[in-house]
Amino acid sequence: MARLFTYGKLNRHATIAGGNHLPGTYYGAWGIQYAAGAYNTTPDNAIEFGEVVEIVQSNDKAYGVKRATSALTLATAAITLRDIVGVQTQTIGTVEGPGTSKAFSVIPASAPTGWSVVVVLAASQTPAVAGLVYVGTATSVATVAGAIYTTDVGTECVALTGWTFGGTKFTPTNGVGICAVITKL
């Protein structure tokens, strides 16, 4: 896994508040959060925690989602939450995403919400607090599907309208993966 976020070892210190949250983690709570159970409609294309995915169906059982494509819109975007899950093939490190054919939680980006969540930043992104949030669609090689950008890179990103960065980037592990908090006011 680790297509979006490159995990290393967890930070060994717990001395800086807000520096150790992993992608997909709730960072702040405000009002009612709309999170739904979901399943991956393309199980062989694994989803990571903190990844923005594309909702392809919604029925009375669950949301069906898959990795973001060029068809992604604000209405179909959803953020994958870090559930507590087990893994079968883990060797070293921490859990990076839901298992194949397992249920997981997503927040539809279009849903009314005030909660903050940690998402995966694409490489070299430097968000500013209150900055706009864009999602890569991998329409070209310029962007990575499901990763977060600070600008509309390659004019192929989808703006998560209403969402803004709640803080600057941080690295919760000693890997190169960077993440940031986004929130919807």
């Binding site: 070892k9 930070n11 717990a14 405000w30 490190g93 921490t94």
Partner: protein, 410 residues
Amino acid sequence: MSVIKYDSNYTFNDAMKSAEAKKVSLVEFITASEKMIEDPRFPGFLDAQTKALHSARKIENVEFRDGAEAVFPYNGFTVLDLNIRRPLFNTFAMKHVPHIYGGGAVETDKGFFMNYAIQKGRLASGNNNKVNLVKANVETLEAPILPITLGLFVGQIDLMKAQTIGYDVIGVEGEAVRYSYQIELDKFAFVGHRGIDGGTTDVTGMARGLINMVAGDATISDIETSTLYTLTHKKFQTMTTAELVDVFVGEYNAFAANVVYQQDKLPNKWLLYPSLFGALTKPAYLTSAGTVFKSHLEYLEAQISVLSKKYGGPEIMFDLLPYLAPIAELGNFDTLLSEDGTNDTGRTILYRQDPYVMRTRLALDLTPGALVYDPANNGMRRNYVSFIGVPLVFYPGIVRYVDNGTTTGE
């Protein structure tokens, strides 16, 4: 104590068996035998058996023989010291690397680390419901465990001949196995799986030991390129007292900062190599004309001790590990164990010897199989097996390599 003449049929084994039959220790049996010869008041004084012993013994101020010397002839004009001297031997793994035991025939040593995603307190008001949330994350760490085997073989005729002279050949070869095993422990503990591929270099992704970890798992502070200090001399052996204090205290401080000054994570050991110990025993001085009252080493020890006390940390023990010396100074140790730092001028290691922070697992200590007759080879064989792990570092970067520089400034 006396010895038994070379042509006597009375051997160590005889004495041992007699002692066992009487349910006394060997020393008690021999002492009693001596009294039977020399003390008329002692029961059994010069009886038939005692006379046989008396006639067999040769008065020398040496100890009882243990067999192997009977291989070599000597005559009545020879004064023979029958103590068997053993080889010079030393290993360091058990002294410097925490080991825990248990597990058996396994292949992975696994452990966990947990960290808290802590939060900033948010302003609260009478009816607010906006709250910052914390989280806890867990990760696994693991280290491989490998089995090794060693064995001994003694030919049947060799065994019969050894028994003839009371020489415990299987016992001494068993000891050779244990020596071999101790060196294996040093390799696993200090350089991990180096050499298992037949080479002598470390391979990317290879399991490492205490002294050859990669940057990240260990913190490598290269004195030659360090920006922490302004040094004229970057080689320990040529540093002034002030420069040595600068570096040693600076490294301690950097270590302490890395563990956020948590007292039970502060270091307790600093491994140095022999020639550096030697260099540090040179006189400390304030100026070239200053009065000598202590060596560099004594002064450094005193200052580091003061510092660690102020931080609430344990005493730092400066200890010896020859594997860290420049390879030319390694001496009579396996070069596979050499790790002389970034500049090949020697490495020192500041760390906390504490199984909470880092330890290796000895899943199965050296375990002998049965001593069995091998008809195909007409001899006795015994194989040994052990399952050995490598150091599992729960806090990456907590082991600090302080690598010697090359600039002598002279």
